[in-house]
Assembly symmetry: D2
Homo-oligomer: 334 residues x 4
């Protein structure tokens, strides 16, 4: 069994790693870390874990824990300060935070602090499983992508790789509230979010540079918060100067993803909603030609394919396991 | 007191007319009509109305009811079959349905039936209060706009009237579920809608021709359903070939709406969400210049400014009353 | 016009006072106070108030503000430290917090601090409008009841006044999340509350002594949190040793509340849900004889009849105004 | 592999059987039946199933399908008309509907039709897995319990088996909306349910006789509908004439369930909410002594432990498999 450690196990992504690995036949969680000093028993946070059955420790980057893989489900701008010590270990690292996803200068700009281990950034393979599968097989360091980035990149990558490219690309995204994490602030209170749709971060969301890096084109990214726990819908709009037809567009997507276990492409006449993927590691994509535009809807569960599920998919790839191990659950409905 | 009749009073727009007129100092509801044969007592539908206090009748277009104004809060494709009889009455008519908003041919296309009184379409003034105020003062017939149309038209009209116009206009809209009305079908069940965001009607929503008619430009309209009772957020995206600046854009909007009691323009650094207007007749608009685009967020309460509130605003205009009568409630929060 | 000051105007009860008084024909808000130092503009909290139109000050108990009535919408255990100074003013006081509702010793026990002005407790009339109307007419000091207390006391008071009394009384209550106020803690985050029903405070909720004081009998009070913004349903269960019949029970309630503008009694065959009263100052009560029990369902909007609406009702009574002023809105639906 | 057929696979319980069996290592779904004539492709209902991959047939009770077990996830009052034919087959039957749970006369009373195969009722073992495990091992016919019944019976059974019994038992239950199933009627529309808590069925819910039969005592059952998809909280209140202590009560429950994989008992100081079990087959129980009462909170996921999960648990028992097969998922959070 592969022994896994999770740093930040009491956050939403951390507990999801714990939950999903519980179903994995070849990996097990042996070390749980939380920096929250007020939590002494994991059962206090997640009562479905037997009290006392999981020991919570404070993570010390100087200790060489006896594990095979370390998941960093920490807030952004944390792991970069630990990494110079961690890269010397014998275990592999899957970092769910943003610290090693983008260039040093973009990181410094978007996260408001100085990256302490910029030489590590090139060591990390960006963890879009479907795109960097080959590189992931041969690395010990994975920078797991953000939830918005995954929805947008999977939704537009096949188009971006054609001659057409993503022209005048605009993304209007809608996210459930778990995407904000478990940070306690007024704007995440139930009564502030419930029964309301909000536009936010329009001037420069932190996920924008990740998307632009991957797609190699500018992206106007306009995120919205909607009152639900899980789910992202990315509505992607591009110009269609070459007047590609629906059939050709559909073929591009179907071909690109035809062997992918976790991406499904549907036709232009099919309905699409986030509930179709909640609880699963699937990204569902609906590409359409609409009037003078190309429109692509891409939905996923932000906590699974947008975070912890993709992290486990990357673990499977990095360890040479079958890629679907631990990830075969169908969506939960309703 | 102005005597009002409401046809379709047991629907969501109908009851909202009833509720709002209850606070109106110069109008009262004297006649309530419902075509739902299973409802004999209004109290069965809305228990906050004393049982027996409101008589529900079946509406008969051949009867000349002693009223001053008739609100038609009926499903689409109903009032066109009655109208040739109704226009001969002494009362004014405010039709909340789509039947007299668009041309005969568009109506026939989008609503799948033959308009029975096409000569009436030109008799109706389209009820965007802020745009057709002068015409509304002099008409007896108002075609009250749809909820999406109101959000989009108010959000883009000032821009459309400049030399710049709305270039390559795209609208990504998010609506609460009451916008679907009270029609009983599986797709509106709680468990089908809750915890999910859905894209729908992308190939041609019925509100599209209303917007295009008003703005005199093509609109790519992409609506989404989000899990909340009330509220619409229309996110409007246009190209900015003339490179208008934020200041100039803000000035265009502030000037255009400076005397409007029910439209408020906010600066690009202000948050915007539907909850800011829920329960009020206000449309809140945030115009931005963003990278190479003009982006305008427009939010309103679909049942009030998007339907019954605007209908009462139009009543006030049509009867020469103060425009804010009965509509001065602040938004309800939370 | 009666000039009103609101302390704590940026909380949920405070803003609701502001909203409701905006519709009041004989009172106006002239002074707004908030202790939140980070808020400089009311518009930052409630954007439907024009930026700069309302001045937010820090409340100073030593200043004699030129007002006629002061609403204290402060957290519990705050006003008791101010009150010895405030009772010397010429204005009346309506305290929405718990500080003057119960005896000194109960206060000290339940709120974990020493009451600094116990001699004031007897000066305050408990603000159950329907029960203490006569006393409220002749006082300057009103201790406005808690939301749960109002629902439970109005629901069981008529029975408690009969010879039968409330035997073996048990209350299972369900509350929306706004009842927790705007305090920022993890347990009120959207994702912690949404899609879940929680039992809490079973060992001794702070509202229990208020109920027991009013009803003069022990109450087993078992509150639950349900995922909605507003609304309380109190399900009240008593033994029925005297075997009172449904007709007699219905008559007791109908008679007791027959002239009340804000209490409505419905028959045992009518549906009852919180949505029937959301947005209104009405308490809806359904008394039933069920097998060997008396069961009473009592619903209200916790922010209105359970807090700010009842406070305004009390203002109307204390100033000799018509009791319904500013409170005539019908429930909002949906 | 055990071959399973599901009748009613397009309903909420049916799809959950399909989803859970997909994770089962020793059973597979080979036959899917739906009586809904408008559905030709399972993908139309549940798009996460590949279009065309599952054949939907109309169930014919006269055909002897080559299966090992038949799940009947049909509406109530359907299977009784088929059963005389089905009991002659070689497969086992697990009926999730109410038809074989209670006596003929109670069935006729509560379901308003005449039972067509009353002699079958005694052939069926009631499927409370923890209570009838031994009988289930030796039967081919299981009447799977209702969701409310499971929460209430598991929550009160240990007490009912002591000398104390459940005295003056009252159950105030709160259910998510999926408990109503997928029946299309106005009362289940999103806007009718959202933001509201409703009392219903107080005069005699259909699950009451199931509980009374199991517990052998009268139960006053008072259900409420709360706005969430999944989850039941049963708050159970009994008198405590023998003045049992908290320690003794806790011991009774801990002992009773100490070897159960799907029932967990927590102490009186632990929080309890439905989210702690959503997505799992666990029933979480918190027994308390409170003033003069015994109070027991019991929560479960109504679609899993309250329906399809318990059905699979019963399948495991009836076929001599490990009881947890296919049911080891931890709760999903948030």
């Amino acid at each position: 069994m592969i022994k896994a450690g999770i740093v930040g196990v009491t956050g939403y992504a951390g507990i999801e790693l714990f939950r999903l690995l519980n179903q994995h036949s070849k990996a097990e969680v042996t070390h749980c870390f939380s920096r929250n000093k007020s939590i002494s028993d994991f059962n206090d946070v997640y009562p479905f874990v037997e009290s006392g059955s999981v020991e919570l420790k404070s993570f010390d980057p100087l200790i060489d824990y006896p594990i095979d893989v370390l998941f960093l489900a920490t807030p952004h701008a944390q792991s970069h300060s630990w990494m110079k010590d961690l890269v010397n270990r014998s275990y592999k690292i899957i970092d769910l935070s943003a610290d090693f996803r983008i260039s040093e200068s973009l990181f410094n700009d978007f996260y408001g602090c100085k990256h302490e281990y910029p030489e590590g950034i090139d060591m990390f393979v960006r963890g879009f499983s479907e795109i960097y599968r080959e590189q992931l097989k041969n690395t010990s360091y994975c920078a797991n992508p953000g939830c918005f980035s995954t929805a947008v990149v999977l939704g537009s990558f096949p188009l971006s790789k054609t001659e057409l490219g993503c022209v005048n690309m605009l993304v209007d995204a809608k996210s459930g509230v778990s995407g904000k994490g478990k940070k306690v602030d007024e704007s995440s209170l139930y009564c502030e979010v419930n029964e309301s749709t909000m536009s936010y971060g329009t001037f420069g969301h932190r996920h924008t540079p990740e998307m632009e890096l991957e797609l190699n084109c500018p992206v106007l990214f306009s995120p919205h918060l909607v009152p639900m726990n899980r789910g992202i819908m990315a509505s992607i709009y591009c110009d269609n100067p070459s007047k590609i037809t629906q059939d050709d567009l559909s073929n591009i997507y179907s071909s690109f993803y035809k062997d992918e276990p976790f991406v499904r492409v549907v036709g232009p006449d099919r309905p699409i909603k986030t509930h179709y993927v909640t609880g699963s590691n699937t990204c569902l994509i609906k590409p359409m030609v609409l009037k003078n535009k190309i429109v692509i809807f891409s939905v996923l569960d932000n906590v699974i394919k947008g975070a912890s599920g993709q992290a486990i998919q990357n673990l499977n790839i990095m360890f040479g396991l079958e890629e679907t191990l631990g990830l075969s659950q169908l969506p939960i409905f309703p």
